[in-house]
Structures are given as structure tokens and as C-alpha cells.
């Protein structure tokens, strides 16, 4: 089937198209430059056309989602939507069921999502949930930052074996890239401890966070993976942690990039949670200025924000000691999990309130980061869903970014605590994003950071992943019409995925199976075999599962998008 989306106002930063009236044509799931006269015409006059959104960091599939749903039935009672002829029933607000996750991303015009933390031991289940999530392509980042083998290689600075290990483990888990969460800290949590800063030794391993981050970055570049290391640094959510954050970014400054498809050597995730100054919750204030300054001066860093949305939500992370701290702080129920030899996890409900001074300053810090990082290619739209708020709030965050008036209103009307005036500089930042910058932070930049050559843009040959929004850019002032902006970005006029129309006027009209994006490193097969002979005795001794049951089998990835990488090239 051939289509022309006619006369839309196109924003496609990758191809330097910023608000031009253009026709976008697609056929057989790809963007093309010509279609026959039989092509079906879709009128996009007075509408905005962008590539479908890409979420670079979200928690949507895997064991912690299941634990979250099981122990928060009260969340599942929200967001209920009955099944239709096309869709299955939807439940949940911050931790929706799998079908709802796919539909809700589609309704916002999104087409690709990265599941940000996949424990290798639980990779099979993560992929089962990916299969159950329709409409979006999903890549999962495998957790490496607290893996016993990784800690040993990092201690010995054995980059060759570490690279081979990553190569093998991405195959075993069908993972897309290297995720590091609280390096060393989650392992320390197995002993009821944590590490702070980047030079604390990890108990019983005699290795520091600095060593782990640097070694994994080197190994990542040695392999030339399409994504850089994806770093959730130490000290998340602690006052004064901005120094740890800046130090963590600085660790990889000498690591040379070895990939033509991306710009960065480190992606800092949910940077809002890592940009805190002060020494305790009383003198807690924004440290965003220093973090933004570092990013502005170092183009080897990208980040996503993890914007607080001021909702009741569910926090879930492999940073298990942080979750314990959170549970101590708010007194709400807590789930804790150890993933043997690999990582840990914790889950705590959280109610972010504009009446709370700390939460309000957190809200301001996220926005400060958006507004102070000058290059939109270095910063990306996320809420670290569901941690800082559910992903369905992206349209609201967009409206905040496009309207200084709205931000000032929130401060002046008391929708956020007056402490934001004293503890952040958000009130002084009058920058407003334009549509091209919104397209950059939600499409083009994530695509480049992940090395997706055929996503995040509307050039010929790209996947026909397209979003049309009912906004006439010539007839709207986002600064004043922020409610219309939120509504339009939350209810796509049209969402196309691989050439299939999934959403019309905010309603899901058809569904498709998800596809799993994973990285297959080639050229190290011999080294992998040698390494596995060394690994197996340790594996057999310490894991409680047999290796035969460990890998993700092919039937767990029925619709793969396999990204082949020649090691070192």
C-alpha cells in the first residue's frame, strides 16, 4: 500500500527540515521519494508531521514491572479502559499492563522505546513482556555494572575479556547495549551496603565505580556498539550528588569514540536525579547549573532528563540501596530483589506533590536541565517512566518546555512550592522550545544516540514511523496555548508504524506485533568460546540456574531487528 501525507508542516531535524510544507510518501513500510497515482492521500494541511517518537529510557518490560503490578494492585485500578474490537483491555496508571503500554505510546505518536534495565538472568521474562507489548519496537539494555565477571575484569583492567564478555552476553540476553546502574553499589547492597562517590571500593571486589565505568566504556568502544555506555551513576537522589555526576562524566573523557553512528561515549540517564546540591534535605537545592555547564562543554556526553511530573507513581530501579533509602524516607511499602551475581532491584510507590518543597525543586531541576543544556542533540525527553512519572505525561512536559508562561504560572499560582524560587533558578530561565527542538529531543537525538539510522527521521529509506499532530504551527502560540499543545501531543492525529496506520485522531485503530531490537557483535566467536571455558566453572559454582536454561532462545524474539556490528570496526 502506498500513501502520501500531503501538505503537512514537517519537522525533521536529522534532515534539516524545520517547519517546511512537504509531502511525506511511504510504501512497503519505508519512506520513499515517489509513489504512484494510486497512492492513498492523507491530508495533513494545518498539521505537524514528525518522525514517530523514540523513548530513550523507560521501564516497560521485565520482572520489576511484574513485581510492581503485583504489589501495587491499587495502581492497576487506575487507567482502566475496556477492550474494543481492536484493542485489549487496559489497566494501570504508572505500571500499565503490556497492551496498554503499546497503545499509549502509539496514541502519543511514538514508535520505539528502550527498556532501560534488563537483568541478564531475567532476560527471558523481559522478552516475554516485549512480545506482549504491541505497536512499538523495543530494545533492552542489559545490566552490566554490578556483574561479578565485569567487576573482576574491571579490577584487572582486562578490557579484551570484558569486551568479549559483553559481546557474548548481548547475544545470550538479546540485549541492545550496556547499562550501568549505581556501579558497584547494587552489588554492595547484597551485603546491606552501598558505595558513594566514584572511588569507594566495592566490598570484596577491590574495585571502584571509576574502574567499572572506565572499563565498560573502553570495552563498549572496543566493540563499536551502536549505543554508548548508558550510565545511571552513583548517589542517585542524594543531596550533593552533582559532584559525583560531574566526576562520572569526566571519567570517560579519554575514551575514544569508535562508532560512526553516534556522537557520544557516555549517555547519562535521568540526569535530574543526579543534579542535586546541598548536604541534606533541609539545604537541598539545584545543582543543575554545574551539570549543564559540563555537558555544554563536552560533546561526548548526552543525557536524558527524567522529568518529575508531580504524580503518584511507582519508583523501580536496579539501584536497590537507593530504593531502601526512599522507603525509609516515605514509609511506603517496599519490594526488594536480589539478582544473583548480576544486580538487584527495589520498588517503592511515591507521591510527588507540588506542595512538597523537595519534590517541587526536583521538578524545577529537570526543567533547568532542559533549558540550560544548549544543544538539543545532547538532551532527551524522558520521565524515567515510571520513576519520575508515567510516560503518558510527555505531552505535558512538552507544554512546559514550550511555555515559559505556564512555568511561571505554576510557580505564581502555588502549583509548585515557593521553595523553587530560592533553591533553583527556574524562574529566571525564559527559554521556550520550538517544534524543531521538540522533534530533536524526542526523535532525532535519541535515534542518533542509539545509532538508529532508519528511525527518528523522515528521509528516504527510513522506516515509515510517522506521527501527525493536529497543530497548525502558523496559527498557534505554544506559550499561550499550552493546553492545546498537551492535548495534541497526547492524541496523535495519525500514528504510522512501519507503514501501518495504528492511530487516528487519538484512537488505536489497528495493532501490530512488537519488534525486538538487539545487537549482534560479530567477529569474536572464537574469543567467546575461549572465554566461556573460563567462565563456566564460576557460573556452575555460583549461579543457582544451569547455563542451559540461561540464554534467551530464538522463540523469545520472534520479530527481531538484529543490528550486526563487526567488532572493533
Amino acid at each position: 500500500m502506498e500513501y502520501i501525507i500531503k501538505n503537512g508542516t514537517v519537522y525533521d531535524p536529522t534532515n534539516n527540515v524545520a517547519g517546511e510544507k512537504k509531502d511525506i510518501m511511504f510504501k512497503d513500510g519505508k519512506i520513499v521519494d515517489n509513489v504512484s497515482s494510486d497512492a492513498k492521500v492523507i491530508d495533513a494541511n494545518d498539521k505537524i508531521v514528525m518522525a514517530a517518537g523514540i523513548d530513550p529510557h523507560s521501564h516497560i518490560a521485565g520482572p520489576k514491572l511484574v513485581v510492581g503490578r503485583l504489589y501495587r494492585p491499587e495502581d492497576s485500578r487506575r487507567g482502566i479502559k475496556s477492550k474494543t474490537d481492536v484493542t485489549r483491555a487496559e489497566t494501570g496508571f504508572s505500571i500499565p499492563n503490556c497492551p496498554a503500554t503499546g497503545y499509549r505510546y502509539s496514541r502519543m505518536g511514538y514508535g520505539t522505546v528502550i527498556e532501560a534495565a534488563m537483568p541478564p538472568l531475567e532476560a527471558k521474562h523481559t522478552h516475554e513482556e516485549i512480545i506482549a507489548t504491541p505497536n512499538i519496537d523495543i530494545g533492552a539494555l542489559s545490566l552490566f555494572g554490578n556483574n561479578w565477571f565485569v567487576l573482576e575484569y574491571a579490577k584487572d583492567n582486562n578490557i579484551d575479556d570484558l569486551a568479549t564478555f559483553i559481546s557474548k552476553w548481548l547475544k545470550l540476553t538479546r540485549g541492545y547495549g550496556v547499562k550501568i546502574v549505581n556501579p558497584g553499589g547494587s552489588e554492595a547492597w547484597g551485603w546491606g551496603m552501598n558505595v558513594h562517590g566514584i572511588d569507594d571500593p566495592v566490598p570484596y571486589f577491590d574495585v571502584s565505580s571509576r574502574d567499572i565505568i572506565h572499563s565498560l566504556a573502553e570495552a563498549n568502544e572496543k566493540l563499536g556498539l551502536p549505543h554508548s555506555i548508558h550510565l545511571h551513576p552513583n548517589d542517585l537522589g542524594h543531596p550533593g550528588n552533582y559532584e559525583t555526576t560531574v566526576s562520572s562524566m569526566d571519567i570517560v573523557k579519554d575514551v575514544s569514540k569508535n562508532s560512526p553512528v553516534r556522537d557520544q561515549t557516555v549517555h547519562m540517564t535521568h540526569i535530574q536525579y543526579h543534579s542535586y546540591a546541598g548536604t541534606n534535605w533541609r539545604d537541598f537545592e539545584s545543582g543543575a547549573e554545574d551539570v549543564a555547564k559540563f555537558i555544554n562543554n563536552n560533546d561526548y556526553v548526552t543525557c536524558d532528563v527524567g522529568q518529575i511530573t508531580l504524580d503518584e507513581t511507582t519508583t523501580m530501579t536496579a539501584d536497590a540501596p537507593m530504593e531502601f533509602d526512599l522507603h525509609q524516607l516515605n514509609g511506603l511499602k517496599w519490594a526488594n530483589k536480589d539478582i544473583e551475581l548480576e544486580t538487584a532491584a527495589g520498588i517503592v510507590p511515591f507521591i510527588y506533590s507540588g506542595r512538597n518543597s523537595v519534590h517541587s525543586v526536583q521538578w524545577a531541576i529537570g526543567l533547568e536541565m532542559f533549558l540550560m543544556v544548549e544543544n538539543p542533540w545532547q538532551i532527551m525527553l524522558t520521565t524515567d517512566s515510571p520513576n519520575a512519572g508515567p510516560f503518558i505525561r510527555y505531552p505535558r512536559v512538552i507544554s512546559w518546555l514550550m511555555s515559559n508562561k505556564r512555568r511561571v504560572e505554576m510557580i505564581e499560582n502555588g502549583e509548585v512550592h515557593k521553595a523553587v524560587g530560592r533553591k533553583s533558578i527556574i524562574a529566571t530561565l525564559d527559554r521556550e522550545y520550538d517544534f524543531n527542538e521538540i522533534a530533536t529531543i524526542s526523535r532525532a537525538a535519541p535515534a542518533r544516540a542509539y545509532g538508529f539510522a532508519d528511525k527518528g527521521h523522515l528521509g528516504v529509506g527510513a522506516r515509515a514511523d510517522i506521527a501527525v499532530y493536529d497543530i497548525n504551527p502558523n496559527n498557534i502560540d505554544p506559550s499561550n496555548d499550552y493546553e492545546a499543545i498537551e492535548h495534541a501531543f497526547g492524541n496523535a492525529a495519525l500514528t504510522v508504524k512501519d507503514g501501518q496506520i495504528l492511530v487516528k485522531d487519538g484512537e488505536v485503530v489497528s495493532t501490530k506485533e512488537s519488534q525486538t531490537i538487539w545487537t549482534n557483535v560479530q567477529g569474536l566467536e572464537e574469543q567467546e568460546n575461549v572465554l566461556m571455558k573460563k567462565i563456566m566453572p564460576v557460573f556452575d559454582k555460583y549461579y543457582t540456574v544451569k547455563f542451559e536454561n540461561y540464554p534467551v532462545f530464538d522463540n523469545y524474539v520472534p520479530n527481531p531487528i538484529q543490528v550486526n556490528v563487526q567488532a572493533g570496526k
Binding site: Y71, P73, E74, D75, R77, L332
Partner: protein, 269 residues
Amino acid sequence: MKTITFNQKKISSIALEFDELIPDEVFNWKKSDFDKYMVPIGNSRFPLSDYFDIEVEGEAESPAQVKMVLNGDLGRVKYIGCKMTDGQIVTNSSVDLHCGAEMSGGSILINGDAESYAGREMTGGELEIMGNVKEFCGASYIGDWRGMTGGIITIHGNAGKQLGECLSGGEIHVKGDCDILAGIHMNKGLIRIDGDVTRSPGGQMLNGDIVINGSVSRFLESFNQDEIVLDPTIAGKSFLGKYVKFTGDIVRNGKGTIWLSAEKNRHLL
């Protein structure tokens, strides 16, 4: 004022769900609207008119001007008044599960008993039950830590287990006896029990007040006995007699208060 009377014609073996038939939804309905309404029963819907004759008298411009009267055996009708914000519902029989759950305003009078989950997570309004109520009255739904947060529940008979679990506001008054674990995980609010309590009221409570005028057969040791107070004022209400004040639950660092009738609980002192 509009009065809508439901006269039962037939009893269903599977419960009818009445959460869509609240004053908020039906204040401007005509009889013909009720006649064509399909009521959920199990996983299907059936004509309401198969089960009830409906009489509509008067007009209403808002839910506040609606009085719904339900006659017949309502033991298989659940969610009566669930999520209502205003208006009045009177039943002339016992009712099934979830009566008044999540209601935020208006009033419900049950001239009979109520099954479990009555008034769960209600945030306002009044629920009066002339008979007994079963488990989890005024409690939270499974998983949530916030039970009833506002409003008043009055039970003229006895109450079942876990009355006011996670109570986070409002008042529950039981004029009869109460089964185990009244006010467990309670955060705020007031529970008054005029009769006897079987066991362990206030377990793991963080805050709020429980006043028991009858005897407690087994009392948790994780409460500290405080002073004996004559004619205390508790949560703004005056009580007559001698009460022993206990604070806890200390296993959760709780600052809740349980007031026991000194006369009826000498065995605990």
C-alpha cells in the same frame, strides 16, 4: 426533588452491578431510559427491566435532588452507591458487596445488613447501616495504604473483621460488637465501638483514635499504657466515663491512641 423507586421483580443468582445507577448518572433519566438500560451481570449485560420495575416521580437538575429507593431482596445487588458524589439512596433490604465504596458525598441508608467492603475508600458523605456489616468496612482496597479518608459510617449492628483497615480519615461508629483487627494499619481518623472487640484492635496503627466502650478479649502488647482519663474529649467529641489511654503501635513507631473503657477492661490493666 426526584424520587426513583426500584421495585424488584426477579432475583438474579449472579449479582447485579449497580455502580452506574447512582444519582450522578441518573438524575436526568426518564423512565424510558431505565427501561432500556442494560445492567451488568457477570460478564454480560441484561435489561434492568427484567429485574426491577422503575417508578420516576418529579424532576432533578442535579444529583443532589435525587432520592433512590430500592425495594426487594437486594442480597445479590452490589456496588450500590459506589462512587456517588451527591444525592440519597435508601434500601429496604440487606445489600451485597461494595455498598458506598469510594463515595465522596451524599447519603446511603441501608435498612438491613451490608456485605463486605461497604464504604471502602470512601472520601465523604454518610453511610448508615441499620443491621450488621461484614469484613473490611471503611477499609482500603487490597494493596492500597489509604482506606476511608472522609465521611461517616454508622453501623447499628455488629461489624466484621478488619473494620477501618488503613483508615486515613473520617469516622466509623459501630454500635454493636466488632470482630478482630479493627483499625489495623490505621493512619488517621476515628473508630468508635460501643460493644465488645474480639482481638487486636489497632495493630500496626500509625495514628488516629480508636475508642472502645466494651471489653477487648485480647489486646496487643505493643501498645504502651498511658494515663486514665475521666470524660475525655477525643477527636473533638466528648465521651463519658473512665478511659484507659494506650499509645502505639510501637512496632511501627506509631503515635495512634486506643481508649479502652476502664470498667469493662479491668483484665487488661
